[in-house]
């Protein structure tokens, strides 16, 4: 501790700081490497669980996570940064398209959704993947937060046939989708986004199923 000049102090503390940075960066890098494969496995398992919620596993027999079209920014689906459409097939025949879509007009920002559209144009299911709707008010769009556990609000989309898609609006807008009074905006945002995704999937169905896996449309 004899060296007390400003330069000496700077050099010493600088060297110690670099030492600590190197050590703890190494600790983080090691942890990252050690957990990488496990985290990737957990992430795809989680994704699979989500996809299974909108389309039962028995409905298809292909490797769903590996069979997708990578979309670029797509206005109709509200995707500013692009997204994926997963393709479910059984014995090579098209079964359903699982469309990642975003409702840009939620009450508190964007609502990310996944919409499963069967090949005949009917809906198999819809789930909210990420949202920031008001807790206790607008967050019933997420079945985990919906107080009605027996038939959560979002399950009514699973009943829609191809002919119902034009009526896929909230009742206030002249459609057939029920909503909770006082929280129309969240329901309307989701409903309109689902209708847009259903139309998109039906219109582009042939091209979507024919596109190369993992590639663009």
């Amino acid at each position: 501790m004899s060296e007390t000049t400003a330069l000496g102090l700077s050099a010493r503390t600088g060297a110690v700081m670099v030492g600590f940075t190197v050590i703890f960066t190494a600790v983080m890098a090691y942890t990252y490497e050690a957990t990488k494969t496990q985290i990737a496995a957990s992430a795809s398992e989680e994704k699979m669980k989500l996809l299974t919620e909108v389309l039962p596993a028995a409905a298809y027999d292909n490797a769903l996570l590996d069979d997708y079209v990578q979309l670029g920014p797509t206005g109709q689906l509200g995707l500013d940064d692009g997204g994926r459409i997963y393709r479910a097939r059984k014995a090579g025949q098209p079964v359903a398209l699982l469309v990642e879509t975003t409702a840009p007009d939620g009450y508190s920002g964007r609502i990310e959704l996944i919409v499963a559209v069967r090949a005949d144009g009917s809906l198999s299911g819809v789930r909210a993947v990420a949202h920031r709707e008001t807790p206790g008010l607008g967050d019933y769009i997420d079945p985990k937060k919906d107080k009605n556990k027996t038939s959560p609000w979002i399950t009514q989309f699973g009943e829609l046939k191809a002919a119902d898609i034009p009526g896929c609006k909230v009742k206030k807008d002249g459609g057939q989708i029920a909503y909770h009074t006082g929280a129309t905006i969240s329901a309307r945002a989701v409903t309109n986004a689902v209708a847009r995704a259903a139309r998109y999937a039906t219109e582009h169905q042939d091209r979507l199923f024919a596109a190369k896996s993992g590639g663009p449309l």
């Binding site: 503390t13 110690v16 983080m28 985990k144 009605n148």
Partner: protein
């Protein structure tokens, strides 16, 4: 240090210097996640882990950390440990991570971690420091739990909603039936301020009552309630 000293450290952390209602530190996560019990306890547990680890690490390394750059080094170590905990949870406790995941990075921003490292771990030996970290974390968890319970009961009329994400099949308790309209203010951030205010007042009342009793017992040397920034 002996057993008595460790007990004092623990009592300090849980009650006398409670982070939530005495030091009033780390309000950001308190306000953000105390809207129900499950969130509150989850964040509390993650905080206990990070505080114990960072106090242990820094107390062990304290002789190698130059005084002049201690704060950047502390932050570096806390951030690195939080990242390691985050990655480890994600990989090995994935179910829990789905619930805790968004809160773990928040812990870095919780000034209580840095405060305990600076005020305690930098000057004390590792075992005591670890106990301090755990005790402070438990104190915070208790406050978070009570806050979460108050806000959840008043705001949505339930207890333990979201428990099924941690214990599959468990059901939340509905206190007032499904017709309860809810009281949104309690769920939103202002409700956290109101509830925390009540807790601080309640604790001060308890301490004041204890003090008054001590006075009445004719021993006017009773210590004043602990204060801190």
């Amino acid at each position: 240090m002996d057993f008595q000293a460790y007990r004092d450290i623990a009592w300090n952390g849980v009650w006398k210097q409670n982070t939530g209602v005495v030091q009033i530190l780390g309000l950001c996560p308190i306000l953000a996640v105390s809207n129900n019990i499950v969130n509150a306890v989850s964040l509390g547990l993650a905080t206990i882990l990070v505080m114990a680890l960072s106090n242990l690490t820094i107390a062990s390394l304290r002789n190698f950390i130059p005084y002049e750059i201690r704060i950047p080094v502390f932050i570096l170590i806390i951030a690195a440990l939080t990242t390691v905990v985050d990655l480890a949870f994600n990989a090995y406790l994935h179910e829990l991570y789905l619930v805790l995941g968004i809160f773990i990075p928040l812990i870095v921003t919780n000034c209580i971690v840095l405060a305990r490292v600076e005020a305690f771990a930098a000057k004390n030996e590792p075992v005591g420091s670890t106990i301090d970290g755990i005790a402070m974390g438990i104190g915070l968890t208790l406050v978070l739990t009570v806050l979460g319970a108050m806000r959840e009961v008043v705001g949505s009329g339930t207890l333990l909603s979201g428990i099924d994400m941690i214990v599959p099949g468990a059901q939340p308790i509905s206190l007032f039936g499904n017709d309860y309209p809810g009281f949104l203010v309690a769920i939103l951030p202002p409700g956290a301020f109101f509830a925390l205010g009540c807790l601080v007042a309640g604790r001060n009342w308890l301490e004041a009552r204890k003090l008054a009793r001590a006075h009445r017992a004719a021993a006017p040397v009773a210590d004043t309630p602990a204060e801190a920034g």
